[in-house]
């Protein structure tokens, strides 16, 4: 196993979050290159050619998104989605806390490419340290002339502001993020119009994930061809995976897409804890279906994982071992969505509440055989009927758990108790 870092290349450098250190390690060279050597349109073409896809979870081609902006002379905005709240995902956090300048460099290049004159970083409410780091880095970038009027004499000007949310998962959804950024209640907006046409304050807006933006300087430095040399034709390039759970070395790993899941868990993360067996993997954050150990050789790219019945999502890889009660884990994850549902649409608001209560009952041995059918039917009544993706996200783990581990649910009913004995679920909840 040879680990080659590009996005996380400076992770071992002390004080890389400080401007002089970042500059000494080649920082803002990509920005100079972008401003000196490329027109904005050429940069958009380069990103299109690189095949870079949104790393927030949906995997939408970034260059195409940039191309949607209408050319009608209205003021454009670039918004960076740093509301990383998906359970099991902590890749953006490492970038903004450890190496904020890399993100800021990416924002300036991306704004130049999309002709945005004002950019915002919407930082997750809980990321207090991260937002402080970002604010300090932004200040340093202004002092250095990388932000503000006429950046590096190029004639391009950009203002960047860091905004910390109030702590709501739903604000990771782009339209709810815009509402929150405008100072309103973080509820998702009706689409269309999409943000590219009517986004922040009604203006054309690009919204990208932190990791997506952090890819841009690397692509500018090394070229689109280099980027497409990794991964598959449809899923090229690099992706950071956050591995958590019962593995020897949990953490962020940057690997080319299409690397097998087995390599990620067994080589990079060091395999399971001693004496533990792999039971299931949630490969893309808590919103995606479980994968069973027989799918371990699936390549980690968008298409292959979809074919294997799950989704690549945000790359938050949660590894569950044989000591984990699937019912308890499902109950815990569904509870998260119940807490985070914004309450706007009926199925998500009421359905997640209902499922949480039934799952709690099941976990504590108070379930009935009918509960399993009820759960499946409630999930069916939520699926595809909600206003935004949050409702569907709450179903990923539950539906797959009912499919692959139905006997474990039935055992809870039959034994009137959790057969795992270990009340991990209670420990977490109390």
């Amino acid at each position: 196993m040879s680990q080659q870092y590009y996005l996380l290349r400076n992770r071992e450098v002390p004080n890389i979050d400080e401007m002089p250190v970042y500059l000494a390690h080649g920082g803002y060279q990509a920005l100079r290159k972008a401003l000196n050597d490329f027109k904005p349109e050429e940069l958009v073409d380069m990103v299109k050619k690189s095949g870079l896809r949104g790393r927030g979870g949906a995997g939408f081609p970034t260059g195409m998104k940039w191309g949607f902006l209408p050319n009608d002379g209205r003021k454009r905005y670039l918004v960076v989605n740093s509301d990383e709240a998906e359970p099991g995902t902590f890749k953006d956090r490492e970038i903004i806390e450890h190496n904020p300048h890399q993100l800021i460099e990416g924002i300036i290049i991306s704004s130049y490419a999309t002709k945005a004159r004002e950019a915002f970083i919407y930082c997750r409410g809980e990321f207090l340290f991260g937002s402080e780091q970002l604010k300090r880095a932004v200040r340093e970038a202004y002092e250095q002339g990388f932000l503000g009027e006429n950046i590096l004499g190029s004639g391009f000007s950009l203002d960047l502001e860091v905004y910390r949310g109030a702590g709501a998962y739903i604000c990771g959804e782009e339209s709810a993020l815009l509402e929150s950024l405008e100072g309103k209640r973080g509820n998702p907006r009706l689409k269309p119009p999409f943000p590219a046409v009517a986004g922040l304050y009604g203006g054309p807006t690009v919204i990208n994930n932190v990791e997506t933006i952090a890819n841009v300087p690397v692509i500018v430095t090394k070229g689109a061809d280099w980027y497409t040399s990794m991964g598959t034709a449809k899923s090229p390039g690099l992706k950071i995976f956050s591995v958590s759970g019962r593995v020897q070395r949990p953490g962020n790993y940057e690997i080319p897409l299409a690397t097998p899941l087995r390599t990620l868990i067994e080589d990079y993360a060091g395999g399971m804890l001693p004496g533990r067996q792999l039971k299931a993997v949630i490969p893309g954050g808590s919103s995606v279906p479980l994968m069973t150990p027989d799918k371990l050789d699936t390549p980690l790219d968008y298409e292959s994982i979809l074919q294997a019945g799950s989704m690549l999502g945000s790359g938050g890889c949660i590894v569950l071992d044989d000591h984990v009660c699937i019912v308890g884990a499902t109950a815990r994850l569904v509870r998260f969505y119940r807490e985070e549902s914004c309450g706007k649409c009926t199925p998500c608001r009421e359905g997640t509440y209902w499922m949480t209560d039934v799952l709690d009952r099941l976990e504590h041995g108070l379930g009935t055989p009918e509960d399993l059918d009820t759960l499946a039917d409630v999930a069916d009544n939520i699926g595809g009927k909600c206003f935004c993706p949050l409702g569907d996200a709450s179903l990923g783990v539950l539906v797959s758990a009912l499919k692959y581990f139905r006997e474990e649910f039935e055992a809870h009913v039959a034994q009137h108790a959790c057969p795992m004995g270990e009340r991990l679920y209670d420990t977490i909840n109390n």
Partner: protein, 774 residues
């Protein structure tokens, strides 16, 4: 137009129409909670799921716009399953309150549960508990458990009214609708959320537990409290009016009411209601009172001849009642001395009278002396509707105070009320001075000094002339404005419409019935009374001292005549001069027609019995005629609708003189040592008593400039001041108001405070330390 197929039927609708509206055109009902046509799509409740061919999943009919060739199915197993699922979700946390819920029997949740819902629930977990019967304000209760979070109320208040007083608090299943900072909502339009609420979450506090749909009656009526005459429904039970609701009229009116109209329905059984016939201080039987008063009429005619009885109409009578009074006056007591009680001198020819359709199309609206939010609140809402669809709406205020507001922002020209017409004349002179009509109009006022610079005035003139559709709202305070309106109609290319906001509410109906309605008519009548030509006054709902601005003339007239007969629903200020006080039936107790500020006729049904001795106008007329040994037929002789096409009074320009006259030069400014007293219509405070409205009515009705309020140490909520007037010192409650200029005291034009009538020659305001009970 877009053509699509819904349930195998083809329909053509304009681009941008939603599926639910297209389906409604075909008479297909798609269940909805959150969607309301006036508010636009939201997509929250998910009840309107439909199947659209070539779409991978069910679509919401309220958020999906139609497209050419679209094929929609509003029925089918998949749709049924989806709706059942959503309905089940809505019900899991909904309390089983229906037996004690006001909405029971007229509730969309019940209706759809009956249609789609399972008979038995699968939900066995505890329901979320929230606040029940919490207050939104004095009039509106919220039961958060029953709420389905459709957001209609929140969106109505913040987006439609523009007053953000309701919000969603908490998130997920704990989300509740509540007021901002948990303070009572103070808007004039809060009651509309009761009508908007599709379930039993928002309830009328005065109607709470008063009746169920199967033991109430509903009558179609109009609201009688201001000249808007909003279409409404009256709920009655056991001969009491217990509720007012809005009545939407398709393509014309959303059915909004202001809180005054929605909750002020209880004047019929208010403790102040006149119930007995009182003749010269003695309470008599109604028959005896009629005999006595008829005797006075005979005596007056015998001694002073025909024409010695004067009749003044006021109040809220129907056009038919006005006609009967006119007929009685002419045929029985042989007098043509009739007038209508006016509190402002203006008059508007019917051919200049606009309609609310003008508001729907206007690009420039001018408030002349009137703040629509206070005087004619639903017109304010109609303007809000317009500004939502046409954000470029120009709003202009011309009057003695600031008339535009945060919800209807615009430009204000603050001048004295008597100078309003001069502002327009000079503006027109500056913008189009070479026009002979303009020159003639401004002949006497071209050099009249105004506190507005000429550049600003010129812009106003150009705006007035160039607006494509000019709508003007007028309080009638400055009678010279009539010449301006006439001139504008001649000068402008596009449509010019005027909406008069003055009362009495049915003055157009009185006019149509043949009663003179001009201010001068009343003035002449009172002068004749003062001079002894008229010896008896019959005041039908008219309270001269409360409403007629020249109080001295009114008092002298009342003192001079031999007899004053006054038919009222509440004790008049004229009471000391009244020889006979007769109780009369009010709105809601007799059926009849009303003509509103558009000149539109509407019929108000009767729903309740007149209380105690109060009798309909018709009964008095017929009874008196009999005492004169005359037959008096009141049936089918006159029909308000006779010469009307549709429901609008005809705009017969040929019969009216539409030539403008030169403006009269206003008299020089009054004594500068005196405070200026300005009056404005305030529908909430218009004097018709209501116990339900009392908590909302401020004790501090007067308003002064914030700096002066500060100098007098008036607290934010208001305080009492001693006002030194030419007729003594009066203690009144005042509060600070930014729209009032300095050295100006604003008071409601009419109210239930007697002092409003005697505010003349105000010299000074002094802080009053101890609170005097009023």
């Amino acid at each position: 137009m877009i053509r699509l197929t819904i349930d195998d039927q083809e329909v053509s609708v304009p681009e941008g129409t939603t599926i639910v509206d297209a389906a409604a055109k075909l008479g297909i009902d798609v269940p909805i909670y959150c969607y309301h046509q006036s508010l636009g799509p939201l997509g929250a409740c998910r009840m309107c799921l439909v199947q659209v061919e070539k779409m991978p999943k069910l679509a919401t009919g309220c958020t999906t716009a139609v497209s050419e060739g679209m094929v929609v199915h509003t029925q089918g197993p998949e749709v049924e399953k989806g709706r059942k699922g959503v309905l089940e979700f809505l019900l899991i946390n909904h309390p089983l309150d229906c037996p004690v819920c006001d909405k029971g029997g007229e509730c969309y949740l019940q209706d759809y549960a009956f249609e789609y819902g399972p008979a038995k629930g699968r939900f066995q977990e505890p329901k979320i508990q929230k606040v029940k019967d919490g207050p939104i304000n004095e009039f509106v209760l919220i039961d958060q458990e029953r709420c389905v979070l459709c957001q209609r109320c929140v969106r109505f208040m913040s987006e439609y009214v523009g007053e953000e007083q309701l919000l969603l608090e908490g998130r997920g299943v704990e989300t509740v609708v509540t007021t901002v900072e948990h303070e009572p909502a103070t808007s004039q339009f809060t009651g509309n959320v009761i009508d908007l609420c599709p379930v039993g979450a928002l309830l009328s506090a005065p109607y709470n537990h008063k009746g169920r749909p199967w033991n109430i009656d509903r009558q179609t009526t109009i609201c009688p409290h201001c000249p808007v005459g909003c279409p409404s429904k009256m709920t009655t039970r056991e001969s009491h009016i217990i509720r007012m609701e809005g009545r939407p009229v398709p393509d014309r009116d959303w059915g909004w009411l202001c809180d005054r109209g929605r909750f002020g329905y209880d004047f019929g059984y208010h403790p102040l209601r006149v119930l007995d016939s009182t003749v010269q201080g003695k309470s008599l039987s109604s028959a005896q009172a009629m005999r006595d008063t008829a005797q006075w009429m005979k005596e007056t005619i015998r001694e002073h001849g025909f024409g010695s009885i004067g009749v003044v109409m006021g109040g809220h009578f129907t056009a038919e009642e006005a006609y009967w009074i006119k007929k009685f006056a002419e045929e029985v007591v042989h007098t043509s001395e009739m007038a209508t009680l006016r509190n402002v001198p203006g008059y508007l020819p019917i051919s200049l009278n606009g309609t609310f359709e003008d508001i729907d199309q206007t690009d420039t609206v001018v408030f002349v002396g009137v703040d629509p939010y206070e005087a004619v609140p639903v017109v304010h809402l109609k303007l809000r509707d317009r500004i939502r669809h046409f954000p470029g709406l120009r709003v202009i205020g011309v009057g003695p105070r600031k008339l535009t507001s945060g919800t209807l922002p615009g430009i204000d020209y603050q001048v004295l009320g008597e100078d309003e017409a001069v502002v327009f004349a000079q503006a027109l002179l500056l913008a189009k001075g070479d026009d002979p009509t303009v020159q003639m109009l401004g002949r006497n006022v071209a050099d009249y000094p105004l506190p507005v610079d000429s550049e600003t005035l010129k812009t106003l003139g150009e705006t007035l002339l160039n607006a494509t559709h000019l709508t003007m709202l007028w309080d009638g305070e400055n009678p010279e404005m009539e010449q301006i309106f006439k001139a504008l109609t001649i000068l402008r290319q596009g449509r010019t419409a005027v909406l008069p906001s003055f009362g009495p509410v049915n003055w157009r109906g009185y006019e149509k019935a043949g009663i003179p309605v001009r201010y001068e008519d009343l003035r002449n009548l009172l002068m004749k009374a003062r001079n002894g030509d008229i010896r008896m006054l019959v005041l039908w709902g008219a309270d001269l001292l409360r409403d007629f601005p020249d109080r001295d003339l009114a008092r002298e007239a009342l003192e001079a005549v031999d007899y004053v007969v006054s038919a009222q629903i509440r004790p008049p200020l004229d009471l000391p001069y009244t020889d006979a006080l007769l109780p009369v039936a009010a709105w809601g107790e007799v059926e009849g027609s009303y003509v509103n500020m558009e000149g539109r006729v509407a019929v108000a049904a009767a729903g309740v019995q007149p209380p105690a001795q109060s009798r309909p106008t018709k009964t008095y007329m017929v009874g008196w005629a009999r005492l004169f040994q005359q037959t008096f037929g009141v049936e089918a002789e006159w029909d308000l609708f006779e010469d009307i096409e549709g429901d609008l009074i005809p705009r017969n320009a040929d019969e009216e003189d539409m030539t403008p006259q030169p403006l009269k030069r206003p008299d020089p400014v009054e004594d500068p040592t005196q405070w200026r007293v300005i009056r404005g219509e305030l529908v909430l405070e218009n004097g018709i008593p209501s116990e339900i409205l009392e908590p909302r009515i401020s004790l501090f009705v007067g308003r002064i400039h914030p700096d002066e309020a500060q100098a007098l140490h008036i607290p934010a909520e208001g305080g009492y001041v001693d006002v030194e007037t030419s007729s003594g010192t009066i203690t009144i409650g005042v509060r600070a108001d930014e729209s009032i200029p300095e050295r100006t005291l604003w008071v409601p034009r009419s109210g239930h405070y007697e002092w409003i009538a005697s505010l003349n020659g105000v010299k000074q305001l002094k802080r009053r330390e101890e609170v005097k009970s009023l």
